[in-house]
Amino acid sequence: MEILEKIFNISIWASTLRIATPILLASLGGVMSERSGVINIGLEGMMLMGAFGAAAGSYFYGPWIGMLIGIAIGGLTGLIHAFMSVTVKANQIISATAINIFAVGFPNIMVPIIWPGYHAITPVVPVIKDIRLPLIADLPVIGLIIGNQNPIVYIALILVPIINYFLFRTPLGLRIRSVGENPKAADTLGINVVKMRYIAVIASGFLAGLGGAFLSIGYQSQFSSAMTQGRGFIGLAAMIFGRWRPVGAFISCLLFGFADAFQAAAQSAGMPIPPELLLATPYVLTLIALVGLIGKRAVGPAANGKPYEKG
């Protein structure tokens, strides 16, 4: 019983937010991409490239520039996926798999060049430090959860309503969604299907890149090529679970974040389950989520995954 008490103190909720953030960013990226009709299994790779870019950028120019570089590299990787999926019309899963494999190998060959003597893991780099929100941190319960977090966590939280507004209340968002549901119809009204999809996929790259930046210069303070640990894929599951809506994805990510926070707290509280098995919790939960909620309603945008052929 006291183990449970040790686990369920207030800090677990703060951890939840922190852990959920990279998953959330990947998930929002998935929403953007798939709403335009492009499946993006490569978010994991984009996140990893963003993490690497942010670490390298931070090492040379400081953490904030590092974050921007991480975002940019994520976007660049997104551009590659957009090119392969939309212009070349290659199989979107193959393109994404190539990106994921590339994202493991490429940083690994770059690490010894930037940091001679190091392989696979970089030394510690400057990080974006957590900040304290003046008024909010003083609030009773909420303050402890939300008052003292990394700026990127706050950015991610704000992005949820922003992306929601963008997709459902602006003309550009309407057009992007139309292209994901019925590109032929959109085409007949003069909407540039290619342009819409490129925008959406590159945006998903930016988001995943930001998630990666958070990992290497916010959540931790160095880069390692094994650091994403499947978060990009969990983000996709959260997207499906959240019905391709930003708010739904957010709630799902909180769930996954909680599961991970729980298992970490359980470990340190001395729960008698072997740590390695506890670490498998997020993945098992993802599987359960995918099964549990799949039914008639879990259908994504109608044109998802199909390259658009004119005529």
Partner: protein
């Protein structure tokens, strides 16, 4: 007014095999060129790097044996991915199936005592295959019954597999050897080992098993009713379902067979090379399998060659790192580039054939 298929189209069609080979060949060359450019940008000498690579792969008896040694699990893995792909499924979980298969093999290898090799080894390998089949059938079933996308489910099972096998040989793990410090299981009994066939090297006859399996998979896919149905489901599951082929059942069968091959890869690695379960004994063979399968045009005979190519890359990379200072991960990069090019090859091929077929003013050429 319909036109006859042009002569060029007929030529291309009749020599499908040759053209596949050309596509693969071009992908390799382009990947190597792009790799060379990356090396140059990194300040390395591509010629030095590549010659170290070749030397590392073929330079001596031992080197060549290591090349063949790397080829073996890649062949199994490539066949695994290709088989699932032929049914329209993406088995990204080969890596996890290898791990679980290896775990089963090690366990059966050290705990079943008193059996002659002729019984022990087959049991161990069958156990590994079955374990892999279980790991593959899960996603297959989830897809068939619930429509869960197999990419995510197989990837999740990868992570779960890594955690399970990691746990097994961790400090307090149930399979941890009491003799050694490192995270490994006890050694398997000699009755479970795959015998070496080349004196002075580590090469074992697992490679023969792999080649035989390639032939078996070929027969299954192209000569049996099951293979026909698997391919039909893969190319057009709607038409297959309409004529009475049970699509969900074939998803399950394909994933099961695919996982079986992956598990066998793990088993062969344990019984032929490591003789015990190590924490992460596969250096990414499962992920390379994807490139191997695509490069081999998803055909068992093509996969024999592409697996060999990747075996060269893998074993050559060790020397390339030692001599030319190029990280081993260059293999991953080249692997990814190859996957990109193979992914592009079909749509681009169609596009260029189209362009080639028209004159400058857009008429369809009649002369070819």
């Amino acid at each position: 007014m319909k036109m006859e298929k042009s002569n060029l189209q007929q030529i291309i069609f009749k020599n499908k095999g040759a053209f596949s080979f050309i596509k693969a060949f071009i992908a390799i060359i382009l990947a190597l060129i792009l790799g060379a450019i990356i090396l140059l940008l990194m300040g390395n000498n591509p010629i030095e790097a590549y010659s170290a690579l070749v030397q590392g792969a073929f330079g001596s008896k031992r080197c060549f044996a290591e090349t063949l040694l790397s080829t073996t699990p890649l062949m199994f893995g490539g066949l695994a991915f290709a088989l699932a792909y032929r049914c329209g499924l993406f088995n990204i979980g080969v890596e996890g199936q290898i791990a679980m298969g290896g775990m089963a093999a090690a366990f059966l290898g050290y705990s079943l005592t008193g059996l002659p090799p002729i019984i022990h080894l087959p049991i161990v390998l069958i156990g590994a295959a079955l374990m892999g089949a279980v790991w593959g059938i899960g996603p297959g079933f989830l897809k068939a019954r619930f429509g869960v996308h197999e990419v995510i489910s197989t990837i999740m099972l990868n992570y779960i597999a890594f955690k399970i096998t990691g746990y097994m040989v961790s400090v307090k793990g149930p399979m941890k050897s009491l003799v050694d410090e490192m995270p490994a299981s006890p050694r398997i009994l000699s009755s479970a080992k795959i015998i070496r066939i080349w004196k002075g090297t580590r090469l074992h006859w697992g490679i023969l098993i792999a080649i035989i399996l390639a032939v078996v998979v070929y027969y299954i896919l192209f000569k049996t009713r099951l293979g026909y149905k698997i391919r039909a489901v893969g190319k057009n599951s709607f038409a297959a379902e309409t004529v009475g082929i049970n699509v969900p059942r074939h998803f399950v069968i394909a994933m099961m067979l695919s996982g079986l091959l992956g598990g066998l890869a793990g088993g062969v690695e344990i019984c032929g090379v490591h003789y015990r379960l190590l924490a992460a004994f596969s250096p990414g063979y499962g992920f390379d399998s994807i490139a191997v399968a695509l490069l081999g045009m998803l055909h068992p005979f093509g996969i024999i060659f592409s697996a060999f190519l990747f075996g060269i890359l893998r074993s050559g990379a060790i020397l390339m790192q030692a001599m030319a200072g190029v990280s081993k991960d260059m293999v991953q990069v080249i692997s990814a580039i190859i996957i990109f090019f193979m992914g592009m090859s079909e749509p681009l091929g169609k596009y260029f054939t189209e362009r080639f077929m028209r004159n400058k003013d857009g008429n369809i050429r009649k002369d070819i």
